[in-house]
Amino acid sequence: MSPDGGLSIVGTVLAVAVGCAAASLWLLLPRGESGLRERAARRFGMLLGAVALGLFVATGHRLGGVGEEATFLVVSLVAVIGAAATIVTRSPVYSAIWFALALAGVAGVLLVLGAQFLGVATIVVYAGAILVMFLFVLMLAQPTGMASYDRVSNEPLLSAVAGAVLLGLLTLFIGRLSAGPPSCCAVPTKAAALAGANRPTDESDEADAASEPAAADTPNTPALAGTPSAAAGSSPTTHRPSPPDMLARDHVARLGGELFGRHLLAVEAAGVLLLVALIGSIAIVSRTPPEERLEARPRRASA
């Protein structure tokens, strides 16, 4: 997408971003400090984190022009900041709440990407069920005051470097994806293979698609840019089907059809898995360690 010169600039920016991210994470992670030092480190870490985020956004801008999609930018920023706060907050309770915020961001990202059902499901399942469970556990197993293990980290520097380098690598590869068709991605789209199967259901959409030619630039670059609403009706005028299908109005219905059609067996298996997890948790939680049981009985008898 960008020429070689652009790529080298992008690479430099990316390297600075990775460095800033690592430093910021290291500063933000609890390292057993206290008082002014800790506060100063956190402030500086936040600053660096903001810089790193900005740099990543900038590279993203250069790479894909995300800045043009304000919604996406906002939700993704919420998600990333929430995630970063989750892992750097000392108190596990605040961590959980920051995690909820990150979840909201992720749900937004999913919505922007056209997965309405998943966005909602994430909120419902995670924020509504899992996170609440976490909070319950925290309330059950909460030490009084600030625990020492919340104030120190395990190998903060190495961990921060590991995370930042991973992020840099992934960003680099994603940038390569945009730079040109690398060999690793030259797989034929599954959509093409499914074209015949989807054909009959596409009939109704094709009329709408014809009325909005803006999205259909070329047959070979499907219009992925745009909000769901914008892309809802965008479907190729050619025989190539697909991505737009997923953004159709009956998106959830199609998802359900797919889920309970092709993946019925997996759904059943997932159900069994849930049941097993349920029974297993109950079994484990109701079991006291044998030595405790042995010790507990005579003591209780004496008392």
Binding site: L113, G145, R151, T189, K190, I284
Partner: protein, 147 residues
């Protein structure tokens, strides 16, 4: 075929979430926070999967995310039970409380002296475990840091 910008951005966001989750799970010692970090990594993967799903125009990615949600729920249920059990044994949510795998002649790793924290201890609502109040074991209570 070059992926569209939005997909790329989705991938970047997914990568960020995954990397942050990784840092959390590697660095934080609180078991609950570690699990939150694990969930963050799952979120990152989910975002990536949805991006690719959109790119390929295939439902497979979204399907996978649904199952990721399922598995995450199961995992949370079972893992939190383990966390509770661990807390019941040590009175801590510390991953460093278990060091039995170390070489037999090495000393136990303990946190070096921490400066006193000036942050006020926050009080959150607590739940008492249901059932008969267990006898308090003095030895065990001594081992515990804060209970």
């Amino acid at each position: 075929m070059t992926p569209a910008p939005l997909v790329l951005d989705g991938l970047v966001v997914g990568a960020m979430l995954f990397a942050l989750g990784l840092v959390g799970i590697l660095a934080r010692r609180n078991l609950i926070v570690m699990f939150l970090s694990a969930e963050l990594m799952l979120q990152g993967v989910s975002v990536s999967l949805v991006s690719w799903s959109r790119h390929h125009g295939d439902w497979g990615g979204q399907m996978l995310v649904i199952f990721v949600l399922t598995v995450a729920a199961c995992e949370a249920a079972v893992a939190l039970v383990f966390v509770l059990q661990a807390f019941a044994r040590t009175g801590r949510l510390d991953s460093a409380a278990w060091q039995s795998l170390r070489e037999s002649n090495l000393p136990r790793v303990v946190d070096h002296e921490l400066p006193a924290s000036d942050a006020e201890a926050l009080q959150f609502p607590r739940l008492t475990p249901a059932g008969v109040q267990p006898e308090i074991d003095e030895d065990e209570a001594l081992e515990r840091e804060h209970v």
